[in-house]
Symmetry: C2
């Protein structure tokens, strides 16, 4: 009954839930994969849902070391960090030959309406991811238009990632993922252009037309 | 053994797959919901997967009457038609008290890697949806920048919708859906502004700076 046993159960369940979903994963399969006896499982996790919640806590605790920090260590520019995180998902998709789905996204669609406790932890995972992006946007705030709602824009990056992973998974090709990220990049380029454009000598009043009919 | 029986089976399976997923739906439950005997089921659909494929064909055939036409009949502006379709999903989310997931998106994440035939039909459904959006973009092409890749932009609208539905489902709130659509609207506003800006008297050469530092 060591914490090693507990961790082996979480690791096995995490892998199986990710590969085949929650409903499709049986307790016997988890025990076999973890090489643990049923008594130990029920000692740590009285129900399968308890194990699910532990898996979701694991994802929450590992967001920064697994997803964010590897990118932040390589890339300094805050906007490029956002696209670096999206590139990480791209590599996962390719390495897994399009079997990859975002583990949180998969479980969100499978379980959100039927498992309220899991739903809250899934939402916490999404919020943690959004906060990482929002931090990048705050670091780049001088380059973005003052009116940008950073919380909302961070959420939009997340919806793009989740939607793009779904498309790559369904089309069994990377092109749809790249297409969505390319459009998001175009949107960011336009925001950055807008954010820096009027910096000098002073920002014209809204509605004024300094040249041609723009604005 | 009428086609009515066949349709009752498809309708029951469609509803159950949507509510609880494919794996979680048993044959007995489909028979009970459709009020059909097992002999009739196996006559029309030798396997559960055959029934799944028929459900996905049903969605494909009903995209226009169910999703597209109700919006196109009310709204004429091609850009507003796109946002009208997104508004249709918003209403589904609210009416179902956040239990709604896009049926295609749900099944895509559940089945894409393990069910190749279903995966192709899921992709066909996504392609049909994208084509409807792409048609709107073509109708609005004079108002969009010439360089816009309409196929890619239509895909981006789809990834936004699927990601936004996932967020509303997970947060059990409509605000994340609205936030994503608001950001998409801001992107479209910037594209439309760019598309019409240089129309007269003539488009300046790229790289020229007609005023301030824009471009």
């Amino acid at each position: 009954m060591t914490t090693d046993t507990r961790q082996r159960l979480i690791d096995a369940a995490r892998q199986l839930f990710w590969e085949q979903g929650y409903a499709q994963t049986g307790i016997a399969q988890i025990l076999e994969t973890a090489d643990v006896r049923s008594g130990s499982l029920y000692y740590f996790f009285p129900t399968k849902e308890d194990l699910l919640l532990a898996v979701l806590e694991w994802y929450k605790a590992n967001l920064w070391p697994m997803v964010v920090e590897p990118v932040f260590e390589r890339v300094r520019d805050p906007i490029e960090r956002i696209f670096g995180i999206l590139d990480g998902y791209r590599r996962h998709i390719l390495v897994t030959h399009f079997n990859f789905g975002c583990p949180i996204g998969n479980l969100a669609l499978e379980l959100a309406p039927s498992h309220p406790a899991a739903r809250e932890l899934l939402a916490d995972n999404f919020t943690g991811w959004r906060k990482a992006i929002e931090g990048c946007l705050a670091d780049a705030s001088g380059r973005l238009p003052a009116r940008v709602d950073r919380e909302q824009l961070a959420l939009f990056v997340l919806t793009t990632m989740e939607g793009a992973v779904m498309m790559a998974r369904t089309y069994h090709r990377i092109e749809p993922y790249d297409a969505a990220v390319t459009q998001l990049r175009d949107y960011f380029d336009r925001l950055l252009q807008d954010g820096t454009d009027w910096a000098s000598p002073r920002r014209p009043a809204r509605g004024s037309k300094p040249c041609s009919t723009r604005r």
